[in-house]
């Protein structure tokens, strides 16, 4: 009985120590976790700020390139470049322009054009000539 009591008392002493250890671990772990999490948040924030800066810089570069493109596309700049290259380009004369007049669509063609693409494919297959044997 006494031995049992002794054994019991040993078990009781070990239990609280374990509990205390677990609580300490939990508190310590929570603290470290909290610090780690805050650190991560700050680090992600820093990365986010850097990426935002980079995005802004790219936007600015994009608008600068856009401005440069606009300058190059301006009629004066194109004319100057044409003179520099001396390619002999000139405005097309009315007789050099060939106009192709589209024939009016037949009702059948109009119907096919208004179809869903899948239906149109099916209709075209059906109306197509058979392949040569």
């Amino acid at each position: 009985m006494a031995r049992n009591r002794k054994n019991q008392s040993a078990a009781v002493r070990f239990g609280p120590a374990l509990k205390a250890l677990l609580i300490c671990l939990f508190i310590g772990g929570s603290g470290v976790g909290y610090v780690w999490q805050q650190n991560q948040l700050l680090e992600l924030g820093r990365q986010k700020a850097e990426k935002e800066k980079r995005l802004n810089l790219l936007r600015v570069q994009n608008s600068q390139l856009g401005r440069h493109l606009a300058e190059l596309q301006s009629p004066k700049s194109l004319e100057t470049r044409l003179k520099e290259l001396n390619l002999g380009l000139s405005m097309a004369q009315p007789t050099q322009i060939v106009r192709l007049v589209d024939a009016p669509l037949t009702p059948a063609a109009k119907r096919i054009l208004s179809m869903h693409p899948a239906e149109r494919q099916y209709a075209e297959r059906r109306t197509a000539a058979l392949p040569a044997p």
């Binding site: 805050q38 948040l41 700050l42 992600l44 924030g45 820093r46 986010k48 700020a49 810089l57 600015v60 608008s63 600068q64 856009g66 401005r67 493109l69 606009a70 300058e71 596309q73 301006s74 009629p75 004066k76 194109l78 004319e79 044409l82 380009l89 000139s90 405005m91 097309a92 004369q93 009315p94 007789t95 050099q96 322009i97 060939v98 106009r99 192709l100 007049v101 589209d102």
Partner: protein, 634 residues
């Protein structure tokens, strides 16, 4: 000992209460001021585009570079030498700006300037170079051997002595320079408060920039956040982050290539005829869309400043009014034909060039016409003939048609500062007024009103509101608002138009007043004008030619105006006519307008040559749609 401890604790308690209770508000405000920060996101002003999407006006963010001379010590020369090339400034001038300037405040305390603006509108690229130059600045000392305090001084100098304003400015850029300057207008910078911070904003002062200022300006955003001791943002503590909304892009009906053609031909005309100013308008009569609108002399909106003459800033096409002269006969004859007061073949006696009416003597300039048909009156531009047509029409009806053609009212173009011209009510007319007005005197009009009136004849009698803006779009090129052509009213019938076109075609034929305006591949209908400027007899004229082609199915109406051309050669037919022709030939080729005349010089295409002809599918769409949006013809 106990007493000392009690006293110490009492002292600490007092300090605690003082800091946490008595001065709590002040201190917490000061702490918040050091920690919290509001970052302004300026909104980018929208672009102005031409009909093909070419950028005519755009914005770039730029920095205002400042200095804190109190952090420089005696290193002004070193810093000036490093930064002068990047700032594109004189080294000595920069060193002077960096020198410490001390002054005394109201309490007599000595203070130094810690905010000196070195340069405005510095590009971001240049600012990065400035930062790099400051980082790598060498002062000729081994900083590792210096005391901690001295090291901190150099660190501060490199990082904080040169800085930028917290909010970026915008620089408005017009990549095509002077092209369409009067249409685009210009901007000026003004300050406004956003979240308690002064933000410099661009405000349109003229042209489209002013008319569409609210659409072009976006909405400024802001961010409330916190910063660390090194002034770096702590993203974790962001509270509000409102993104800015960029301004809308304004897409014009104007075509930069057509505009360039018009401006270059006007420049040649300016050289030949030496007028005070010269203006040109290209309109699509069916929609009222303006493809080009130019006035010379002009200005460069990139370099607007005190050196630009005020007169050059005026868009004379809409702001200046003049007595139109003979171009107005097109209006009078149209009205008389529409009211069947006269017929085209009706013969009127032109008094051999001298006609007394209402106590005045009217003349036909340089001619002594006898009997002329109404068609001849238009072709030969007889003043007396036109006066007789007007008299036959009557005062009330003439006044009605003058107003119906849009004179005396602004056309409604989306540009600021449009004049309405002067059309007196009939009750204020003198007896001679009906004859004067029929000749294009006794009333004033703007060049745009005149161009739109002739466009109405070209548009089968329907007057259109001039259209300069096609649509508004967001920064992703998504259309936000589309402007539609607006018909003002049907002024004359289609039958009248046919008769009028028949008469106006003869103006450019031999025997007409402007054979120089005839085109090789297109029939042209037009009217010349040579108005005297008051005081009459001062040999100052306003010469013009307004025409459209192909005459029977008009696609383009072109108007050319010269203010006070060289008095040796001032008739509209010989001054404005050739300019009209030069513009028309280039614009017709560029827009691939279908010719309606087989010219003798035309050779039918036999076989593909080394330079293959351009092939354009004609699908019944307007000719501008047959070329691709970005495609160019040369």
């Amino acid at each position: 000992m106990a007493l000392l401890l009690v006293a110490a604790f009492a002292g600490l308690g007092f300090r605690l209460v003082d800091l946490q209770v008595v001065r709590h508000d002040d201190l917490s405000r000061e702490a918040a001021g050091r920690r919290e920060s509001t970052i302004i996101h300026p909104s980018r002003r929208g672009d102005i585009l031409d009909a093909r999407g070419n950028v005519l006006a755009t914005s770039l963010f730029v920095k205002t570079v400042c200095a804190d001379p109190s952090l420089l010590g005696t290193n002004q020369t070193v810093v000036a030498r490093a930064l002068a090339p990047q700032l594109k400034m004189n080294e000595a001038e920069l060193a002077e700006k960096l020198r410490v300037h001390a002054w005394k405040d109201q309490r007599g305390k000595e203070r130094v300037d810690r905010y000196v603006i070195l340069k405005r509108k510095v590009s971001l690229e240049d600012w990065e170079k400035i930062r790099a130059a400051m980082k790598s600045l060498s002062f000729g000392v081994d900083e590792k051997k210096l005391s901690r305090r001295d090291r901190a001084f150099y660190l501060n100098l490199r990082q904080r002595a040169i800085y930028t304003e917290p909010v970026d400015d915008q620089l408005r850029i017009y990549p095509a320079g002077t092209l369409a300057a009067h249409v685009l207008g210009f901007t000026a910078a003004t300050d406004k408060l956003v979240e308690g911070h002064a933000v410099t904003e661009l405000v349109g002062k003229d042209g489209i920039e002013a008319a569409f200022n609210s659409a072009l300006n976006g909405v400024t955003g802001w961010r409330q956040t916190e910063k660390d001791v090194g002034s770096q943002e702590l993203v974790l503590f962001r509270e509000e982050d409102i993104a800015s909304r960029p301004g809308l892009n304004v897409a014009l009906t104007l075509d930069a290539s057509v505009q360039d053609m018009v401006e270059s031909e006007l420049a040649k005309g300016m050289e030949r005829n030496a007028p005070v100013s010269i203006s040109g308008i290209v309109v699509r009569p069916s929609t009222g869309a303006i493809l080009a609108m130019a006035t010379l002399p002009n200005y460069d909106p990139n370099q607007i400043g005190s050196k630009t003459p005020i007169a050059n800033l005026r868009n004379r096409v809409i702001t200046d009014t003049f007595e139109p002269g003979s171009t107005f006969k097109a209006v009078v004859v149209s009205a008389a034909l529409n009211e069947q007061a006269v017929s085209l073949n009706e013969i009127l006696y032109c008094e051999n060039g001298v006609f007394s009416f209402g106590g005045y003597t009217l003349h036909d300039a340089g001619h002594h016409f006898g009997n002329l048909s109404v068609e001849d009156i238009v072709a030969k531009s007889s003043n007396i003939g036109a006066a007789k047509v007007g008299i036959k029409l009557g005062e009330v009806r003439l006044h009605k048609y003058v107003r119906d053609f849009g004179f005396g009212d602004p056309t409604g173009i989306t540009l600021p500062g449009e004049a309405r011209g002067t059309v007196h009510p009939v009750r204020s007319w003198y007896k001679v007024s009906i004859a004067q007005i029929s000749m294009g005197q006794g009333l004033t009009v703007t060049p745009l009103q005149m161009a739109m009136a002739v466009s109405a004849i070209a548009n089968y009698g329907r007057l259109m509101r001039p259209m300069l803006v096609d649509h508004l779009e967001d920064e992703h090129k998504q259309e936000v608002f589309k402007y539609q052509p607006q018909a003002v009213r049907q002024v004359i019938s289609e039958e009248t138009v046919k008769l009028m076109v028949q008469a106006m075609k003869r103006v450019v034929l031999p025997g007409g007043t402007a054979p120089q305006a005839a085109l090789e591949h297109y029939t042209v209908a037009g009217k010349t004008g040579t108005g005297q400027k008051p005081p009459y007899g001062s040999r100052k004229y306003f010469s013009s030619f307004i025409g459209f082609f192909p005459a029977d199915s008009p696609e383009i109406c072109i108007a050319v105006f010269l203010d006070e051309p060289d008095p040796k050669r001032y008739y509209g037919g010989e001054t404005a006519g050739p300019i009209f022709k030069a513009i028309a030939e280039r614009v017709a080729a560029y827009l691939a307008i279908r010719p309606d005349i087989q010219a003798p010089s035309d050779q039918p295409l036999q076989k593909p040559s080394s330079n293959p002809p351009e092939v354009i599918a004609q699908t019944g769409l307007p000719s501008t749609l047959t070329t691709s949006r970005t495609g160019r013809n040369f």
